[in-house]
Amino acid sequence: MKQSIWVRLWRWTIISFVAAYLLVPLYAMFDFSTKSFGLGDKGRNFRAWKMITEQTDLWPAITRSVITAAIVMALIIFLIVPTAIWVHLKLPALRRPFELLCLLPLAIPAIVIVVGIAPLYRWISINISESPITLAGVYSMLILPYTYRSLSAALDAVDIHTLSEAATTLGASISRVIFGIIMPTIKTGIVNGSFIAIALVLGEYTISNILNFKTFQVVIAQIGRNSGTVAVAVSLASLLFVILLLLIIPTKKRQGTVLDVDIA
């Protein structure tokens, strides 16, 4: 009995530490964004929060970043996931080289990548589009290390060979095997990989800034230069939005099968 009290105390101590670690910065952000800095102002006010709506640059930037994230998601689902499955299933000899290739973006500093692809993007903005959405191309490479790892772990956890053979003998084409059987099976891995990818797309600064694209994160940095409190308010708002998203999504489990389509 005595021991259990200590164990419980210890447990709560750890939980409190972790909670403090996570919540104190959030509270600090809230505190800062509602502080009065003007002369004669007293107490708290929500001026910074109200000013969010007045940032004309912000909303288009959010839209652009969300569209970019959506495109990256689509690339993950229709290109990276099938490729990873294909490599695991049919080309086991290529697993090592493929993994190495996917890790490269992690090994090369962002600034080096930017210098490398800047001429390419100059060409793209002249000949194709000036839209920051074209950044989806670079981002889909940058996310590879994270996405591929979580996909690879998910693929290793299930016997995809037997599953694919079972589906094949029942009459499924290879695209049905990939999209109808294996992808729903490794759904958790895909969702995890996608979350990391979206976080990266919404947070990456170096590349979009140097290439002069006004994405969400670039605009926040700009706002921060004009008004610190507004920038912090925007950051906190977006953080809360993402946390809310994370809380909602996992509860939407087991509602019909995902992606049972034949694209062949």
Partner: protein, 349 residues
């Protein structure tokens, strides 16, 4: 090659580097027949099954099913039902959805109601009607394999292929399920190829058992014939227990343990050889003048298994009906002789 064969495998060969997985395997299966392929690991039995399923490309050979050459047909067009050794249910689908999966893929999409009726019928057949809406993780290993069987049968396969479907299950479930597989197979009349390394499994449910070795078929015969009249030393020793007892062969019989018995075809024809004698072909009688001694005796119920030390110092295993074993305790002096049944004789060494 018989004209009536429903499945004909002709001279199948598959080499993985120097390893001969299949080395000229030929096999005919009649319609509605259950053939088991039995052999040690690496004998090529699974390769043969996978080749027939279309999951394994061959280096040589031809496969004909129901009069059609399927050698180069892709696996998803062959219409074979397969049950795998590893659990293979689709984890995101319920038992019923798993069973219906093959039907949803048919070219003329089976109508929803019909599909439902078919899956209900098959789940009933494997005794899992009450588990239709369970996900695989809610089912035991045995139940999962039953669903897998129902799923394979749902598409009314030309041939049912069973790749050691029972080897992941515990002994009791295994025995129960293998009998059920046989019942369902007979009921539906589905031509079946069953691969296993467990001889008891093969002998107990197959119409014919093929023993494979090094990518070839050593012998294929009904279970009793395979056991009583093996063609080769490998078959004799692989299927059931044998005691190698030295003797002298001449004129189609062998003199062994003071008696003379006929030799089986394929045995050596002259000189000294080793008779491969089944435990139940040995007659053990208590006798004070006997030159053998019971080393140990274990009671198995209907029969009694004896380990007997012969005069030459070698040890043999005999199995006698329990009523005859009274007094055959460890240390008893006995006389050992052969029952008058033909034996296979292999060369010494």
């Amino acid at each position: 090659m018989s004209a009536s064969a429903y499945v004909q495998l002709v001279d199948l060969a598959k080499y993985f580097g120097k390893v001969k997985a299949l080395d000229g395997l030929s096999l005919d299966i009649a319609e509605g027949e259950l053939v088991a392929l039995l052999g040690p690991s690496g004998c090529g039995k699974t390769t043969a099954l996978r080749a027939l399923a279309g999951l394994q490309a061959l280096d040589r050979g031809q496969m004909i099913v129901d009069g059609k050459d399927v050698t180069y047909q892709s696996a998803n067009k062959r219409g074979m039902g397969m049950v795998f050794q590893a659990y293979s249910l689709f984890p995101h689908m319920t038992a019923r959805e798993n069973v219906e999966y093959g039907l949803t893929l048919r070219a003329n999409k089976t109508a929803g109601d019909k599909r439902k009726a078919r899956s209900a019928e098959l789940l009933e057949l494997v005794g899992l009607s009450t588990h239709a809406n369970h996900y695989p993780y809610q089912l035991s290993g045995g139940q999962q394999q039953r669903v897998a069987l129902a799923r394979a049968l749902a598409i009314s396969p030309k041939v049912l292929l069973l790749d050691e479907p029972l080897s992941a299950l515990d002994a009791k479930v295994r025995t129960q399920l293998r009998e059920e597989i046989r019942r369902i197979q007979v009921e539906l009349g589905t031509t079946t190829l069953f691969v296993t390394h467990d001889q008891e499994e093969a002998l107990s449910i197959a119409d014919r058992v093929g023993v494979m070795r090094n990518g070839r078929l050593e012998q294929i015969a009904a279970p009793a014939e395979l056991y009583d009249r093996p063609n080769t030393a490998f078959v004799a020793e692989f299927v059931g227990l044998t005691n190698p007892i030295p003797g002298k062969v001449s004129g189609g019989s062998i003199e062994v343990l003071g008696g003379i018995v006929k030799t089986l075809p394929g045995s050596i024809s002259l000189g000294s050889g080793l008779a491969l004698v089944r435990p139940e072909s040995l007659d053990v009688v208590a006798s004070n003048s006997g030159d053998a001694t019971v080393f140990s005796a274990s009671f198995l119920g209907a029969s009694c298994r004896l380990s007997v030390l012969l005069a030459d110092g070698s040890r043999v295993t005999a199995q006698v009906p329990s009523p005859d074993a009274v007094g055959l305790h460890a240390g008893a002096r006995v006389k050992v002789s052969l029952l008058d049944l033909p034996v296979f004789v292999k060369a010494v060494g």
